[in-house]
């Protein structure tokens, strides 16, 4: 064969060595997803075989040659009921099974480590809590639940890791989240699957799963000097947030210590949990997110902070468990103003593995 057509030979070799029907199963959810997938494939195959068998056998048995005169049959309620109820039952099983899986994938566990993902034309930026930045790659430890909080800076993107069987749309103006727990070390594809413009197909990268120790080493090796929360703190000060969000008795804004995850009552009377999405909205569109008892005087920061800046602020507020640091910053002179959220973008953060 190889001497008949070298190209064809190469092709065949390539096919046989690379042939795969499924991507690797590298997360905890992947085998569960595949179980449902196999079940569906099985049902489809049975259904398809049934249809093919029926059509083929009837075509042979009742071809004009063998069966010159057709017998007129009205129909059969029993049969109609059969092929209504059985598919319906199967579909409902798939629905319930699928829904369970869906909730599992989109409900992160409480102890998950949070990594922020910002999508923009045409790259993925990952922000680790330790201040490590990555572009078009994501390093994660094995065996630990990782939550991704995803947002887009411009158009819709979609953060997809086939080997983990997870995918979530990056939406402009809103956080979405997804979580996974990697199980096998290795390098996997990271895709943008939502069409996002010219270089859509170049918005790809690698997800690197490391053992816990390797991950620790990687974290140390890629540190940018300041953690995400520290960047946030700097920004917090430079935007003069401390002018109101301080602990003085006449403070015009609420204290932000321990606010994350708490139950807040808004000025509209609505009760909400202060999560990432709430914090983001409260910074950008404050008037609808005022805590009860405070005047709606907070200016909007829409257009003044980049998504990375907002992320740094959110991370800072999240980790704020006492007012001590705020008092410190309030007391000291503020750091040089780095507006437009450039403070994070300019840090030498991009670390290639």
């Amino acid at each position: 064969m190889s001497h008949i057509s070298p190209v064809l030979w190469q092709f065949l070799v390539k096919w046989l060595t690379n042939f795969a029907l499924f991507p690797p199963e590298a997360s905890k959810i992947a085998p569960q997803m595949d179980e449902l997938y196999f079940f569906m494939v099985l049902v489809s195959l049975v259904g398809l075989t049934l249809v093919i068998l029926l059509v083929l056998s009837f075509s042979i048995l009742y071809s004009r040659k063998r069966h010159p005169v057709a017998v007129q049959i009205e129909g059969s309620t029993l049969l109609e009921a059969t092929w209504t109820i059985i598919p319906l039952g199967l579909f409902l099983i798939m629905f319930v099974w699928g829904a369970l899986l869906y909730f599992r994938i989109y409900t992160p566990p409480a102890n998950a480590m949070n990594i922020y993902i910002v999508g923009k034309q045409w790259m993925w930026k990952a922000e680790h809590p330790g201040g490590q930045h990555e572009i078009n790659s994501l390093h994660v430890p094995m065996g630990e639940p990782i939550q991704l909080t995803i947002i887009s800076q411009d158009v819709f993107h979609s953060f997809s890791i086939p080997a983990f069987r997870v995918k979530r749309e990056a939406i402009p103006g809103r956080y979405t989240s997804v979580w996974f727990e990697a199980t096998t070390p290795g390098t996997y594809h990271l895709f943008c699957t939502q069409y996002c413009g010219t270089e859509h197909s170049h918005m790809i990268g690698d997800v690197v799963v490391l053992s816990r120790d390797d991950f620790k080493k990687w974290l140390q090796g890629s540190t940018s000097g300041a953690s995400l929360a520290q960047n946030g703190e700097r920004l917090f000060a430079s935007l003069s947030c401390t002018a109101c969000h301080n602990t003085r008795p006449d403070a015009r804004g609420p204290s932000l210590a321990n606010v994350y995850g708490s139950r807040l009552t808004l000025s509209s009377g609505q009760q909400i949990t202060a999560d990432d999405a709430y914090l983001r909205e409260a910074i950008l569109n404050p008037s609808q997110h005022i805590t009860q008892g405070y005047a709606p005087i907070m200016p909007t920061y829409q257009g003044q902070i980049s998504e990375e800046g907002v992320i740094a602020l959110v991370e800072y507020i999240k980790n704020l468990d006492s007012d001590y640091r705020v008092q410190q910053t309030t007391a000291s002179t503020t750091l040089p103003v780095e507006n437009e959220g450039k403070s994070t973008a300019t840090t030498p953060g991009t670390v290639k593995p």
């Binding site: 008037s287 907070m298 200016p299 909007t300 829409q302």
Partner: protein, 250 residues
């Protein structure tokens, strides 16, 4: 009407019977023709309902999100003009219905009269609408091209509205969203006005035809169907009026 039904029955008995001139050849009877075109008009109105449906959906969602902005945006509209316009449009619906009635009882003079009144009322509606639009332009309330938020950041700068409603200044981020209210205001009333313009153009043509006696020979389909369209446009306004003008006026 009576002799046209006679013709209809006659035609039903034999396909080769003499038809009235307005019966199209592929219909068996005049009644069938009337029914079919009437039904077609209703289906067309169905598509119109869904056409506006998209705008109403957008409106309801945005209103829920940015209620304070919608309240103050709405206060900038002139209820007087809005009410007047509602009255004008309802009146024009009435005259249109009377026009259909005149065609049914074959009174050519009355038909032309009612169609003319409808035409005038339609123009009056557009006139009032353009006064309102001009006012919006002058107040810098045309989003995008001629826009300023100052009357929402500082309601006292607009004493006329202020003395009525004593609006509190909106927070800057909410004041931004008043632009959304005016987007939807212009999109919805603009789309409605466009339907009015189309209606008035058809009406102009119909008045000429009615003058020539085209609709008083028992062939009311055209007038009836146009009436349906006109009433539909009226109904859209009946909803636009409270949704856009009457938000939290107390």
């Amino acid at each position: 009407m009576s002799d046209s039904t006679a013709v209809a029955h006659g035609a039903a008995e034999s396909a080769h019977h003499e038809h009235p001139p307005y019966q199209r050849h592929h219909f068996e009877t005049v009644a069938q023709q009337f029914d079919a075109t009437n039904f077609a008009m209703w289906l067309f109105l169905l598509t119109e309902v869904m056409f506006f449906g998209g705008l109403f959906t957008a409106y309801l969602i945005m209103r829920n999100w940015y209620y304070p902005a919608f309240v103050e945006g709405s206060h900038q509209l002139n209820v007087g003009w809005g009410t007047a316009n509602t009255g004008v449009l309802i009146l024009s619906s009435f005259t249109m219905a009377m026009g259909v009635w005149s065609a049914e009882v074959r009174r050519k003079g009355l038909l032309v009269l009612f169609l003319c009144i409808t035409w005038i009322l339609g123009m009056a509606f557009l006139g009032i609408k353009s006064i309102e639009y001009t006012e919006k332009w002058e107040k810098h309330h045309v989003p995008g091209i001629h826009w300023s938020e100052s009357s929402f950041l500082n309601p006292r700068s607009d004493p006329e509205v202020y003395k009525e409603y004593h609006d509190k200044p909106l927070a800057p981020d909410m004041a931004d969203k008043t632009e959304m209210y005016f987007f939807l205001y212009f999109a919805m009333t603009g789309m409605h006005a466009l339907h009015m313009i189309v209606g008035i153009s058809i009406l102009t043509f119909m008045i000429i035809r009615a003058q020539a006696g085209a609709y008083t020979t028992g062939h009311v389909t055209y007038v009836e169907n146009f009436g349906l369209y006109w009433h539909f446009v009226d109904i859209i306004w009946i909803f636009l009026f409270p949704l856009l003008y009457l938000i939290s006026r107390y």
